[in-house]
Structure formats: C-alpha cells, structure tokens
C-alpha cells in the first residue's frame, strides 16, 4: 500500500512534496485556461499529509480494494490539486493531466471529479453532499467489518449548506468514529469573504454542539497537520479537524483574494507565481 508504507514521514520531505504539487496544480490550471487555484492551494498541505504522510491506506494499483481508506473532496472545485495528487499517488499518469478540463479526456478529468477517474469515490460539483456520502461509506465499511477510515475535505463556505449539519447529526447518531471531516477554513468564498457571506463562527462550538470530536490546527503547518491526523480515532465520536488555511496559499498575490477563486493565471502571472513556489 503506497500511502501506509511511508511509516516515518519526514516533515521537510512533505513540505517539498506540497510545493511540487502546488506547481503542478497551477500548471494544469494554466494549461486548461480555467480552474480554481485559490481553493486548491489552501487544501494542498492537508491533502499532501493524507496521501503522502502515511495517513491514508490506499493502493493506486488496486483502487477498488474494499478495505481501503477513502478520501472525498467535497469542495470539488479544487480539482486542480486533486488530480495532481492522484497523479503523484499513481492513480493516473502525469501526462493524463494534460487533458484536465478538456474534451475527450481519457481519464475524465472534468472540472469537478467523477468516479470514472481512478481514485475518485463519488461525483462532486454541488457543495454540501460529501459529508453525507462519506458517512454512508463509513457505515458501509463498518458493516463489512473493515476498519477503513473516511476522510472528507469540506470547504468553509460549504458549511453554509444545511445538508452538512444533517450529516453531522447523522454521524453522531450512528457513532461513526471512522469518519473524519477536515474543514479547509480559508475564509474566502466565491463572491465574498465567508464571514460576510454568512459567518460560521463560533465554529468549534457548532461542531461541539453536534457532539463531534473537535480539533483546530494551522492547516499550513505540516507538523501540526501530521500530529492531528496521527491521533487514534475517538472511541465513538466522529472527528472534525478545523484547519485554518489561506486561500491561494503560496502565491503572494493570490493569498486571501476572492478574485483567485475561479480564474486561471495569465502567462505573466503564471511565471510570477512559479518564481514564488520554490
């Protein structure tokens, strides 16, 4: 199993991988001429730790192994980083990435992921659904007697969808402790900052009130990310990790900007960004 074989993840190595993935994600978004760099970069360190820090148990050569851990990107617009991670993990090849957001894409690398792409569990594109789907998977693997864990990355704006809180109640009811939600709390949505769109705070209190095991970390501190992901499961509560992140993290002129939610960089901006991603 690729992921789990990295038993002693080296923090510096993971940070290097994250940088490499940001460059790759930006490259494919630039090539496609459209995409979502901001939300890809805020989630990069979290996904790097999950896939390459020995957290997720997966085998890219056997993507349907029923005993695998599952990863769901509920904020599906961050597909630029998702496909970059899937390529690095070996589900698809790096040359497949050339067809990102292009017609006749052999690996179906759509703007939002779909299970036709190896490594993808469910379609995304409509916010609010991933936590419920992840919970269904968590219940299904328990029924089968496996100890699979299910990790779902949620956007912060996505928490404005009511269905997230329906799922939060359900996971509590069924004591689904093998479900781990990670909130990519980058504070910025599409047309506004999250706080002004509809404030999520007090966010920890909300999850606590729904009876989840709540943790809060700096979502760009690899050591902190690894530490929280390595915690043993709570005996009965589902877990939420609120990761404070920065939209567009790594490229100074993108950081914290709504403008970089859903646009590809110009050639000039692309070159400028690459100089920072070293």
């Amino acid at each position: 199993m690729n992921g789990s074989q990295l038993t002693t993840p080296n923090i510096t190595q993971l940070e290097k991988t994250a940088l490499e993935l940001r460059r790759l994600a930006l490259k494919i978004i630039f090539q496609a001429g459209s995409g979502h760099p901001g939300g890809s970069f805020s989630a990069t360190d979290l996904m790097t730790a999950l896939f390459f820090g020995g957290i997720l148990n997966y085998d890219a050569n056997n993507p349907k192994d029923p005993k695998r851990d599952r990863f769901l990107l509920s904020k599906g617009h961050a597909s630029g980083i998702y496909y970059s991670v899937l390529a690095k993990a070996g589900y698809i090849s790096e040359s497949d990435l050339d067809s990102y957001r292009k017609i006749n894409s052999e690996r179906f690398l759509s703007g939002h992921a779909h299970p036709k792409t190896p490594g993808v569990e469910i379609a995304s594109g409509s916010l609010g659904q991933g936590l419920s789907v992840g919970h269904g998977i968590a219940m299904g693997t328990r029924l089968d007697g496996y100890d699979s864990k299910v990790y779902v990355i949620l956007g912060d704006g996505e928490l404005q969808e009511g269905q997230i809180w329906e799922a939060a109640m359900s996971a509590d009811k069924f004591k689904s402790n093998n479900l781990v939600a990670i909130v990519d709390y980058n504070k910025v949505a599409q047309d506004n900052i999250t706080k002004d769109l509809k404030d999520l705070e007090p966010l920890e209190d909300k999850w606590n009130a729904f009876n989840w095991d709540v943790h809060r970390i700096d979502g760009h501190n690899m050591e902190a990310i690894m530490k929280v992901l390595q915690l043993p499961l709570h005996p009965e509560k589902p877990r939420v990790i609120i990761a404070d992140t920065i939209k567009g993290k790594g490229v100074s002129f993108m950081e914290g900007k709504t403008a970089w939610h859903g646009v590809a960089p110009s050639a000039e901006d692309y070159e400028k960004a690459l100089k920072e991603l070293v």
Partner: protein, 312 residues
C-alpha cells in the same frame, strides 16, 4: 393473487429478500411505519438506517453505502424523498451512477386528505428527465414483489413509485415482471389504454362499464416508465384506432409524454387522449373523490374511450 397497497408489498418483499442477501440495506427518513420499510428494520436492525427527517442527507448516505457494494433502498414519501433532494439525486446517484433505489411511497392524488403538498404528481417527470435513472411503477402486489426482486438484480439508479391505498390484484404468480417490458392485461379491439400504477385498476373498472355497452378495448400495463417498452407501444398503437394513456400524475412528463414521444418518433398518428392531472394542484378529499373531480376516475376513462371512438 393478492390485494393490498403496493407499499405493503414492498415492505414484505424486502423482509423476504433481505434474508438471503446481506448487500441489501434500507434507509428511511422518519416515515418507516407508513413507508413500510420498518418491517425490514425490525428484522435486520444492523442493515436499517433511519436517517431522520433529512432526505438530502439520506440519499447521499445511500450513495455512499452503495459505493461499498451495498444495494441501498432509500425510502420515503415521494414528495419529500425527491422534492427535498433533486440535486443530491442528480449528482450523487444519477451522475455518479450509484446503485441506489429511490423508493417513493404516497404518490398521486390517491394520497387523498393530506392535500396537494403531500400528493406527488411531478415525480415521474423529475425522474424520467435524469440520465442513468430508470423509473418503475408497479400495478399491484404481485408486480411489486417481483419488481423489488428485479431491482436487486439490476445494478444502477432507479426510482420505484409506490402507492398508499389498497389496490386489487391484477396479476397472479404466473406473471413474469421484466424491467422495460409492458404487458397486455386484457385484449380488446378498436382502442388501447396504456395505464400505470393504480390507473390499471381504474381502467379495468372503466372497461367493465364499457363492456355493458359492447365496447371492448385493450389494456396495457406500463410499469417501466423508463426505459419504456417502445416495441409494445408501437405494436399496440398500430393495431388499434385510438390511444389513451392513464396515470395518477400531472399530464406533463409522465406516462402520457413517454407514450407520446414513442408515437411521434415512430411517426404514428392516432387519436390520442391523456387521462392525467391537468397541470393543476388538487385539494383535500378522499382519493376516489379526487379522482372523480380531477378527471382520473373510471367514469372519466370510460367517457374518454367513447369520445375517442365516436365517428368524426
């Protein structure tokens, strides 16, 4: 031959089929006593998930379960099961092509006194419009039991439309349900009625009335609304002078449209009447009262037959 509500037959069938197939899981949205999924829950509590009054969460949870190899029956009142979760069904079930069976009970004006917000008359339109989705509405107990079994063998998303009131037996155990196949219930001449669900029973009542006037028409049960039995529709329409469709649903997007599309595509021009709700919300009242007032009763079907056969 057994009379009874199709929702009861579904609940019973699940219990029987669940014994041999551990892949079957059932979800409900807090109406399991009425939808009859509770029977399964009582027998197999570890495979029954009552998700509370949260249909959107339920259908996505069902999709997640399906990705782990389960056959997930997400059950609820059709109005809310579909109405509250169209986007979730589109993305996590239809587009993702997950093996989820959406089972909507309490459909049509037959629901009665709970009023228009509980009388689902747009569900077949909703579901027929979705790629990857098949749509099945059984006519009686026997067909419901067999269709439930067929849905287990069929891998992919499906909508199963069930009813609240008791319906009379149409089929005996010699009947063989097949997804995508219609069935001639009674052979007559001159005119063919394509009916679905409770309207098969209603049409038979109309036909008894007509027989007293020596009018003998053909009745075809269309239980698979999508994919519709194109061959049978063409064969029957071609061999009769006139066509009537009968459904407890709005006249837009349901059986009438499904049959009409086949006839148009095949360039078959016939007298064509749709017995259906005429694009309006009904009101409270008993099912039979509503059928009479809103044009779905046996009287209306018989009248439509006579109008169709009257020389121009």
């Amino acid at each position: 031959m057994k009379d009874g509500p199709t929702r009861d037959a579904y609940g019973q069938a699940l219990v029987e089929l669940g014994a041999d197939d551990p892949r079957i899981v059932v979800l409900d949205a807090g109406v399991s006593d009425s939808s009859r999924s509770k029977k399964f829950g009582d027998k197999y509590p570890e495979r029954f998930f009552n998700m509370g009054i949260a249909e959107a969460d339920m259908v996505c949870t069902a999709a997640g379960l399906a990705t782990t190899g389960k056959i997930a029956f997400a059950t609820g009142f059709s109005c809310f099961l579909l109405g509250r979760s169209m986007d979730q069904i589109l993305v996590s079930i239809a587009y993702s092509n997950t093996n989820v069976k959406l089972v909507g009970t309490h459909t049509g004006l037959a629901v009665g006194e709970d009023g228009p917000s509980a009388q689902m008359i747009v569900d077949m339109a909703y579901m027929r419009a979705m790629p990857n989705m098949i749509v099945i509405q059984p006519a009686d107990w026997e067909e419901t039991v067999q269709a439930t079994r067929a849905l287990i063998d069929y891998e992919g998303p499906a909508y199963f439309r069930l009813g609240r009131p008791k319906v009379k037996a149409i089929f005996d155990s010699s009947y063989k349900f097949e997804i995508g196949k219609g069935r001639v219930v009674k052979k007559g001449s001159d005119l063919v009625i394509f009916a679905t669900g409770i309207m098969v029973q209603e049409s038979l009542v109309a036909m008894e009335m007509l027989e007293k006037e020596n009018i003998n028409v053909t009745l075809v049960n269309i239980s698979t609304l999508k994919p519709i039995d194109r061959e049978l529709v063409i064969e029957m329409a071609t061999s009769h002078k006139a066509v009537i469709t009968a459904e407890d649903h709005n006249y837009i997007g349901g059986l009438g449209d499904a049959v009409g599309e086949v006839l148009l595509d095949a360039q078959i021009s016939k007298s064509f009447k749709r017995i259906a709700v005429r694009d309006q919300f009904a009101e409270t009242g008993t099912g039979p009262e509503l059928f009479e007032k809103y044009g779905l009763s046996a009287n209306h079907i018989a009248q439509a037959v006579k109008d169709s056969l009257r020389p121009a």
